[in-house]
Amino acid sequence: MDFDFSPEQRQLKEQARRFLADRCDRRAVRAVLDGPQSFDAALWQGLAEQGYLGAAIPEAYGGLGAGYLELCVIAEELGRAVAPVPFSSSIGLAAELLLSAGTEAQKQRYLPALASGTLIGTLALAERPGQVVPGTISASAQGGRLSGTKTPVADGDIADFAIVATRDSGNAAATLSLHIVDLKGAGVQREVLPSIDPTRSQARLTFSAAEAEPLGAPGAGWPLVDAVLDRAAVLMAFEQVGGADKALETACAYAQERFAFGRAIASLQAIKHMLADMYVSATLARSNSYYGAWALSTGSAELPQAAATARVSATQAYQHCARNNIQVHGGMGFTWEFDCHLHYRRSNLLALALGSLSRWEDRLIDRLVAQRGMNAA
């Protein structure tokens, strides 16, 4: 059994960590938090130049063609650094949707640009509060023109194009179709929406007969999105595991420095047991995410179950670690000046992205029950 990353993948991880320590330190994150920019464009270019964005994109489409384990390793380091970049939108969702449903011409046109960072893509799915199911979609497309409103769209203000889900007309079964829309073209209005994590932007996109190009077969949109969400969920689980580890390390370091009652607070059981519990969640999440990485990288039929397992576990762990990191810091943890809130914000944002925790819990149980049926048969 070799249920671990290879020495080369570990080396890549160390390299990515060094790169991000240099290019994405706290000043870089805070420049986006406090400033007018929605993301760190220079960092995004740097990540592209390192080959990180195209790690899993085939060489034929301008990527490195290394594989998904390499991409997981990079996602973990981006999560650890709370990097203010559109990685999950552009690589986890847009590139994956193009790889799974794009025509040869669409792949040739978009994938090299996503790998090189010259184009940013995103998925425009939700239209209103609540879980997304096909029946909640009312955007429509006819004759290559798309109309409707999508909110919130992650990175919608900075993306060059969006893959937009529309409802098919004259169809009682509520099927969806996907379209590629140039967000800089006519008939597209964008509005930045304030959110709990200003280091990752959210937007409302309004389409008024915007030019749209079909992606995938008409009516095949929902199964395509559903399958790609599993792939994106594994990558996001690694972002969350990276963030959870960093929040735990930060809390441990502070608890050893901070003295109260004449001793380091890390020697108080109330604190050390909290930290031990954070370690437990982070460890379970890491192991579950490895399971997701295995399924993603081998194309296993277990991917739906593995992705939901990784996603639920990593969401719980990052929220737990980020929340208790503030608690260990006491009042200082609640200041703008300390970095605790960066993880608190990010952990709660990621918990909602790609469908919220309760949706993934539900999917996990569906899949475990299905698996049980298969085992019994």
Partner: protein, 414 residues
Amino acid sequence: MNFDDNPQEAAFRAEVRAWIQANAPTHLHDELELAGFGQPALRSGDVMAASKAWQKKKSAAGWACLHWPKDYGGRGATPIERVIWQQEEGVYGKLAGMFIIGQGMIGPTLMAFAQEQHKQRYLPPLASGEEVWCQLFSEPVAGSDLAGLRTKAEKQGDEWVINGQKIWTSGAHYSDYGMILTRTDPNVAKHDGLTMFFLDMKSPGVEIRPIKQVNGQSGFNEVYFTDVRIPDHQRLGEVGNGWKVSLTTLMNERLSIGAGMPTGFPELLDFCCSFDTGNGLAIEDAAVRSKLATWAVRTSGLKYTAYRSISALSKGQTPGPENSIGKLVAGTTLQEIAAFALDLQGASGALVDAAQPSASGRFQAMLLRSPATRIEGGTDEILRNIIAERVLGLPADMRADRGMPFNQIPTRAR
């Protein structure tokens, strides 16, 4: 990243599988599969006799205590081969319950500290299950604070005279030998005045009283020592060095107990898929599904954490500290799952009905057994201290008795 055996591992697994298929007590398979948590009870006969018979058979064919040296009754197998054996042994591994303490914890301690003549004499019958051992550590006043124990050992000529009381001794009532930690010097700091011995449990002056537990069973005992005499050659390690000897045992205890702990999740999932709450199947209820998801990811997290450790073993590395979480997570989960399964049954959840179908009847037994899992072999709180101090590198708790001679340590509030 893969779950596959390498060629040597695959060959070993095939050999193990073939031997188990040809030799296992297959008539017990279904009953063992359904057996609950803790000691399996067999309707078809005496579990102790079945356990000893299976152990003897394994031993005769060289499949007992795989990782021990051949000279002492083992196979000299690698750690990964031991894991493969455990995976293949499957439900028959439940028959090993009464040997776990002796083979998992005491054997390694004897190997490290006993005289060669004793290793030759005692280890092979320990491996074959012909002789069963117990561990005499905890006392009424010394549980988590084990080094605070008071059972006295005084030297008289070539012998030591033991007086005191041990408690929570698993299997003392059927054990042939025991390993005992005693206080030989009360005038020095508590960790420095301890000495380890082993003794014949049938020695004059040993009295064993079973403890009736919350669940009505009696797996644990009190053991009283009145002028029990142990020859000096049965001492393990130097006089005053007993704490260090006990750490060897306890490290092995946490290793053997922490691996592959059940959480009750597969049983709960089965139950929810078939149990009608009156509003439809439990599995269709959103609140039920959310709770199940949390227990599912804890259970799979433990499984894949173990796989990471196995992978390290497979590459000849020492597993990292991640396995220290096993019992901590499993104990709490078992208790939560049991209570939830009863909750789903409403007032009927309170009923203990042996005739009930196994699926629902087992959760009551789980509920009543699960508190022990969170205490035995290191309480949840001690495990959190271990994770905090040894894994995260946090400072130790301040101790009021640090460096103080044992006989001056306060024992009650004034």
